[in-house]
Amino acid sequence: MSAAERILSRAVSEIIPGSIVNLGIGLPTQVIHYLPDDFDVQIHSENGILGAWKQSAPEAMDPFLIDAAGAYVSLREGASLFDSAVSFAIIRRARLDLTMIGAFEVDALGNLANWKIPGKFSPGIGGAMELAQKTKRIVVLTTHTDKQGRPKILKNCRLPLTAKICVNRIISDLAVMDVAAQGLVVREKLVQISDADLQAQTEAELTFATRGAES
């Protein structure tokens, strides 16, 4: 399993049946393909969809129906379509149960940076600020370190923040961590990695309270 596959497989079990969930651009939008076909969830896409579902076969694909990342999607029974003001009213009124979101950096306080790398990458804000600031529960999906092996899970974010103190849980390719009063608490980790190894790849200080282990 690749790092991405490990994250996505684990992410599936974060979704409570019957809930309303937004999947952010990047890794999170891929979660939809890991869900059982009959799973009871309403996927919100900020471009105006409640009830987005897996991409249809090419012959049934609707060119007028994409998710916020541009990928063609289908609709479930009971889906609704609406304008961008209503879509963000759903977000700002906290009618989403969960948002899964990507990160450039996330820290021990639950701060999130995922929209801008000054001087290198600033394609815009998109829906990230409102999702991060207003959703009841935010789960970050991220590789534990960047491509150069540097920690993405920090003591304090250094990049411009998307939203302060908003993240509830981080799912990386190595571990599942909760943002708690005492900092990051490791709930699960790969069996093949030791506590010390995980800490070594994490700038934030970790507390270990693993209830078992992932494979």
């Binding site: 651009i25 393909h33 896409s45 900020e46 471009n47 105006g48 969809i49 991409q55 090419p58 694909m61 609707d62 060119p63 007028f64 129906l65 994409i66 998710d67 916020a68 541009g70 990928a71 063609y72 379509l81 609406f82 304008d83 961008s84 003001a85 879509s87 963000f88 977000i91 700002r92 600033s122 394609p123 815009g124 804000i125 998109g126 829906g127 990230a128 600020m129 409102e130 600031q133 207003k134 411009p160 923040l161 998307t162 939203a163 302060k164």
Partner: protein
Amino acid sequence: MKKNQTLENAIAAIPSGAVVMVGGFGNPGTPFSLINELVRQGQTDLTLIKNDANEPGHGLSRLIENGQVRKLITTHIGLNKGVIDLMNQGVLEVEFHPQGMLAEKIRTAGAGSFGFLTDIGIDSEITRPEDLLEWQGQTYKVEMALPADYALIHAAQADGLGNLLYQGSAINFSPLMAMAANHVIVETPDLGVPGRFKPEQVHTPGAFVDSVVPLESLTSDYGILEHHVRR
């Protein structure tokens, strides 16, 4: 049907220097035919307002690549490296807003109001001290309304009174922009007679619409983008 116009006449109403809203989120809802005519006519010094810049060689991107645009007010242009480069080179001025704030600024203009009080981004670098208001013991960020001279809209269906229906994820900013612009130009592949719609199901009442341009067919612009098909 006085609202039934040719592509050429409808777009000729737009002068250089105009502020123009353009519907669409990615491809769906982008009024490619109206945009392509604006490229053909060549008005310059435009300020454009759209969720994104479409993708290179398509839609809004063509106006920018063609040097007709002074400023872009948008939320995310991550799928258009060419436009990001023009921004980084200082050729194109770009103003970013959180997506829901852009929608709400447009909708506020569309409601005939002048601004609204929010807390979105209030703790972030997008908020300047001069945007903050102390009011009745609370601190808010003031977001001002964003109106426009013109809106370019794609509707799935229309009637001769200018009533509009959208489809799929192509609704997005279109009904908001139709309210917010002083002059609203709509393209549709399906223009019919008044009475064809159930009155409750009209997305944009004709009162907001100034011209409707019937399209004989939809060009390949409106089709599937292969790189967004999952392999």
